[in-house]
């Protein structure tokens, strides 16, 4: 496919901004521990590409074998919402940010609340699954 006329301008501009950010980061004393930053920057990529992506791919292969076509879209959607809620809730559920001298940080019962939210998500998911199962075939 032909390259867009904007290809080189955007590549050069984007690269320049990225390099500016990287040089700025390495030269900023307020960042301090660059190795700690690199652990989280590269670690995120490794977790995303080498742990999460294969896990999703493998799970998908298994689900393809078990779940009939008409139920797949709703099940996939419900799993996407579930994974997102789990990821977002994890820091609060872990309670690691709690401070003995400040009870207003993480004041709620997050494990219980996570179960409530997941129950609501799956209640909706189940209603849609039942509807998909009994929908007339097109």
């Amino acid at each position: 496919m032909k390259r867009s006329r904007a290809f080189w301008p955007m590549t050069i501009a984007g690269l320049a901004l990225s390099v500016y950010g990287l040089v700025g980061l390495l030269g900023d004393t307020a960042v301090g521990d660059t190795m700690s930053w690199l652990t989280y920057f590269a670690g995120g990529l490794i977790v995303h590409d080498l742990v999460w992506a294969p896990f999703v791919a493998l799970g998908s292969v298994l689900l393809l074998r078990v779940v009939p076509m008409r139920l797949r879209p709703v099940l996939q959607g419900t799993l996407i919402v579930t994974a997102t809620v789990l990821l977002v809730a994890y820091p609060a559920v872990s309670g690691k940010g709690r401070l003995a001298n400040n009870p207003s940080i993480l004041p709620l019962d997050y494990p219980r609340n996570l179960l409530i939210v997941l129950a609501a998500v799956w209640a909706v998911g189940c209603i849609l699954l039942v509807r998909a199962a009994f929908a007339p075939r097109r």
Partner: protein, 285 residues
């Protein structure tokens, strides 16, 4: 320009490395930070600032490389072709699922700043009603190590003029000055906010006591020693604003020590960390 599919693919793929790493970094560390948990040792705000530039740069490269694909997908001929049958979720279904995921997360956290939805804020790291005097706190007096100095009967507020003239005010003298009220929120950059009715003395009145005039700026210093947020600077617009107060009261009560007793700054349109607490000194500059 001659088509070279390998080169385009290489640029596109390389740009994915900082794009994915940067996006994942911004999202996960940002989310973890809102729960006051810091498992890392880098400086969070500076690292986020620079990493955002790296990520935005990678996004620009990626969009540039993908423009022909985008253009083809949005062309009229593509709109006439129906999506081929897949093995599961359709493109539209994926968009709906992503919207549902974002909607669920928003609905269960936004109550930490949108008060009518606070009972739905099941996963929010803050609850806008929970904290001393019904308002959340970011830094406590114990955390800032100001308990002894803030509660000391010897507390005085020091006003310093541009010409170096000084004036000391005891807490009783502060309370005797003309009192004003303002309804203002503490709005934290971490995502929560909570409003209160504050009572205290106008900062511009205090500045005028040491010769401050319209157009002057004021530096506010805390009893807190060290720390990035132990002082803040009010620009001239903030100084002259009617609602910029050195607050002594919250919702009609004396300030709780975690809200900055004996006196704290409160001013419109400022992030919470710049609403300096345990104020010891106002310098007209």
């Amino acid at each position: 320009m001659a088509a070279d599919p390998r080169r385009r693919t290489l640029v596109e793929r390389l740009s994915l490395i900082p794009l994915v790493a940067g996006s994942f970094f911004m999202l996960t560390t940002g989310l973890i930070n809102t729960t006051s948990w810091a498992p890392w040792t880098f400086g969070f705000t500076a690292a986020h600032f620079w990493t955002s530039l790296i990520t935005i740069g990678a996004l620009i490269v990626h969009i540039g490389a993908q423009l022909p694909v985008t253009r083809r997908a949005l062309s009229r001929s593509a709109a006439r072709e129906p999506e081929p049958a897949g093995t599961g979720l359709s493109r539209r279904g994926l968009l709906i699922s992503v919207a549902a995921a974002a909607g669920t997360v928003t609905l269960t956290t936004i109550g930490q700043t949108v008060r009518p939805l606070r009972e739905l804020a099941l996963l929010a790291p803050r609850h806008p009603d929970m904290g001393p005097q019904g308002i959340p706190v970011n830094k406590t007096a114990v955390g800032a190590r100001v308990v002894d100095t803030a509660e000391s009967p010897l507390y005085t507020l020091k006003l310093v003029g541009r010409d170096g003239q000084e004036r000391l005010l005891t807490l009783d003298e502060l309370r005797a000055l003309p009192r004003h009220e303002a309804e203002l929120p503490i709005a934290c950059v971490e995502g929560w906010s909570a409003s209160a009715r504050w009572g205290g003395v106008r900062v511009r009145d205090l500045a005028a006591m040491v010769g401050g005039s319209d157009g002057d700026e004021v530096v506010v210093r805390s009893l807190q020693k060290g720390g990035s947020y132990s002082s803040s600077r009010l620009n001239a617009t903030h100084v002259r604003h009617d609602d910029t107060l050195l607050a002594l009261e919250i919702n009609g009560e004396t300030l709780h020590i975690d809200h900055g007793f004996p006196a704290r700054l409160i001013s419109p349109n400022r992030p919470g960390v710049q609403q300096t607490k345990w104020v010891a000194r106002l310098e007209v500059v």
